[in-house]
């Protein structure tokens, strides 16, 4: 029983971790290359979840819904970049934060107009709904396992793209010296749009995967976005490796804290005290972790070269 519980919660932590990574990777790339603080990244996560749920209800085909949801998020992301964010690259962080905060209000309300204020119900196909037996009677939901596999595959793909391809070379060059890359004749505007669209698609992927597990509702993006901030502050802003490490650490700490802190405290404190303190401390755990990491490594675990 105990082994099963620990194994299950560890996998849940891993699942939350890869989900956070999908969001953190896009956010950290956009910051590393365009020097843009994009609070509206969470809005793209929400758009991905809504579009996929909507298309699945309309078409009945999950594969088609996923494809349309990803493409739709990509389009929304690229249009947002072209219309609003492009003018913000040369502005200071204060302007970027406020303008993208305005975009959040806009997107959330737009979703309310289209789908209403209440959470909508998101389903998965029969095939993915079951459980799979992993070891010694320990069963785990196929869907969550699939999220872990997809997340790790994306991490591998990102590593390959960034370190082994021409696009990746341009991304790394852009992150270390934008002006020089532009001077060498690279179409930097196009590169920005490509990177932003890529990040948007990853956020959409996280959103469509998250839909059936968490609730699909307006404002869903911001709750996870603030956790993503913690992830990239811990990992080091601008570093994909840092985003992966930070995401897995935060996912694990948050999940295991919520599952085991209360019983652990109950062994040293009175049950009522543990009942009160357990959930309170568990909800603060990742932020305290962030404070500790910053106290020792002010630029995060994997500081980028700049």
């Amino acid at each position: 029983m105990n082994f099963v519980l620990i194994a299950e919660q560890t996998l849940n932590g891993l699942q939350l971790g890869v989900m956070l990574f999908l969001l953190a990777a896009g956010l950290t790339l956009v910051f590393g290359i365009m020097n843009l603080v994009n609070l509206a990244h969470g809005a793209l996560y929400m758009v991905g979840a809504y579009l996929t749920t909507f298309f699945y209800q309309q078409t009945g085909s999950y594969a088609l819904a996923v494809a349309l949801g990803l493409a739709g998020t990509l389009v929304v992301g690229v249009v947002t970049e072209l219309v609003a964010l492009r003018t913000l690259y040369d502005r200071d962080h204060l302007d970027q934060v406020l303008a993208t905060f305005g975009l959040i209000l806009f997107f959330n309300e737009l979703i309310v107009i289209l789908w209403g204020r209440a959470a909508i119900y998101s389903t998965i196909p029969e095939v993915l709904a079951g459980h799979v037996e992993l070891a010694g009677g320990f069963r785990y939901p196929i869907y969550r396992l699939m999220i872990i596999v997809i997340g790790l595959a994306v991490a591998l793909l990102l590593w390959f793209v960034v370190t082994r391809t021409r696009l990746g070379m341009l991304i790394r060059a852009g992150a270390s010296n934008r002006a020089m890359v532009a001077a060498l004749g690279v179409n930097i505007r196009l590169l920005y749009t490509v990177v932003f669209g890529f990040g948007a698609a990853l956020a959409g992927l996280a959103g469509l995967l998250a839909g059936p597990i968490y609730s699909v509702q307006p404002g869903m993006g911001e709750l996870i976005l603030i956790q993503v901030f913690v992830v990239i502050v811990i990992g080091g802003i601008g570093s994909i490796r840092g985003a992966l490490a930070g995401a897995l650490i935060v996912g694990m700490v948050d999940t295991l804290g919520r599952a085991f802190l209360k019983p652990a405290l109950a062994t040293v404190l009175s049950p009522t005290a543990a009942d009160t303190a357990g959930p309170a401390i568990a909800s603060m755990l990742i932020y305290l972790l962030m404070a500790v990491v910053l106290a020792f490594r002010p630029a995060g675990l994997f500081p980028s070269a700049r």
Binding site: H93, V97, A99, T276
Partner: protein, 317 residues
């Protein structure tokens, strides 16, 4: 006096004329609305001290609004209605937490600072939600407003209004004196050029941390006022969108100006009220006022960076 100072004095005089006007028009709602404006103006003025003059983009200023409110609400919940004690705790607790958060976050700058202040505020928000004793996410009704040993009765709307007005004037004066003192000049020097400030022998860190703590303390007082205003304690005071709104007020009014926070708070809250309740517009439009608010926010940032105070005569500080 400089023209800008005149304008600020005129604005405060206009605010002083609101209660008799509201009574004459028989519209007590205006009294309530303007009291809310002034409370947020105090909070915005404290944020302006660090954001405008200190160059520290704090995305977590709502934390102190919440802390001040919780100090009053928690003491009241345990039967302690003494306002002196409640408000002193509101200010002290906010200052202490600001000192703690500041000591970690002020070491960093730029985007790290933004994200860290946001994250710590979210932490306090979740703490507020998870403590069932004080209402959890439902919040808690404030049974009795703060009692000041018979000196002033906060249940009297007019008396409460003038108290808030007096505290607002005091806050604006305090911030004005601070930014023009040696301390404030060092703070502004560090904002405009950190390397040169270091070169003349001033380490920015203690100045920034002190400013961060003072701003937290003032905002804690605004929180104590806010919970007495709404007579309801809720973790929503610390919601991250509240921090964003406070920043927007500072920008909208005019960053690093004396009258900016008041103008910004007034413009934001009146705009919000207008968009929500404008009877000229059909209901389906006013229902989604946040849509327009978002667009207006983007447009102000892109095209009207100097804010409302930038429209006033006299030179920008």
């Amino acid at each position: 006096m400089k023209p800008r100072t005149y304008i600020l004095v005129v604005l405060l005089a206009l605010l002083a004329a609101v209660p008799p006007l509201a009574a004459w028009l028989n519209q007590p709602f205006y009294l309530d609305l303007m009291r809310r404006v002034m409370i947020f103006a105090i909070a915005a003025a404290s944020l302006n001290l660090i954001l405008g003059y200190g160059g520290m983009v704090s995305f977590g200023h709502a934390a102190y609004l919440g802390l001040g409110a919780y100090a009053v609400g928690v003491l009241s919940h345990h039967g302690i209605d003494n306002g002196w004690l409640q408000w002193a705790l509101a200010i002290a607790a906010s200052a202490l937490v600001a000192l703690a958060i500041g000591s970690v976050s002020v070491r960093t700058s730029g985007i790290y600072f933004i994200m860290i202040t946001l994250a710590f505020t979210q932490m306090l928000y979740y703490l507020g939600i998870s403590i069932e004793e004080y209402g959890g996410d439902d919040g808690l009704r404030l049974k009795v407003r703060s009692q000041f040993s018979g000196l002033i009765d906060l249940n009297d709307p007019t008396a409460f209004y003038y108290l808030v007005l007096a505290l607002l004037a005091l806050t604006l004066l305090l911030v004005h004196r601070l930014v023009n003192s040696r301390f404030g000049l060092a703070l502004q020097a560090a904002r405009s050029n950190e390397a040169r400030t270091r070169a003349i022998g001033l380490a920015p860190y203690p100045y920034r941390l002190a400013a961060f703590t003072i701003a937290g303390a003032i905002c804690g007082l605004a929180g104590a006022l806010l919970v007495n205003h709404t007579a309801y304690l809720t973790p929503e005071f610390m919601n991250w969108t509240r921090s964003g709104e406070l920043m927007f007020m500072v920008i909208l009014g005019g960053i690093a100006t004396a009258s900016g926070p008041l103008l910004g708070a007034a413009a934001f809250l009146l705009l919000e009220d207008l968009l929500q309740g404008w009877s000229v517009l059909p209901k389906w439009m006013t229902e989604h006022w946040q849509l327009y608010l978002g667009v207006i926010l983007v447009l102000v940032v892109l095209y009207a960076k100097r804010g409302l105070a930038g429209l006033l005569p006299g030179k920008n500080e």
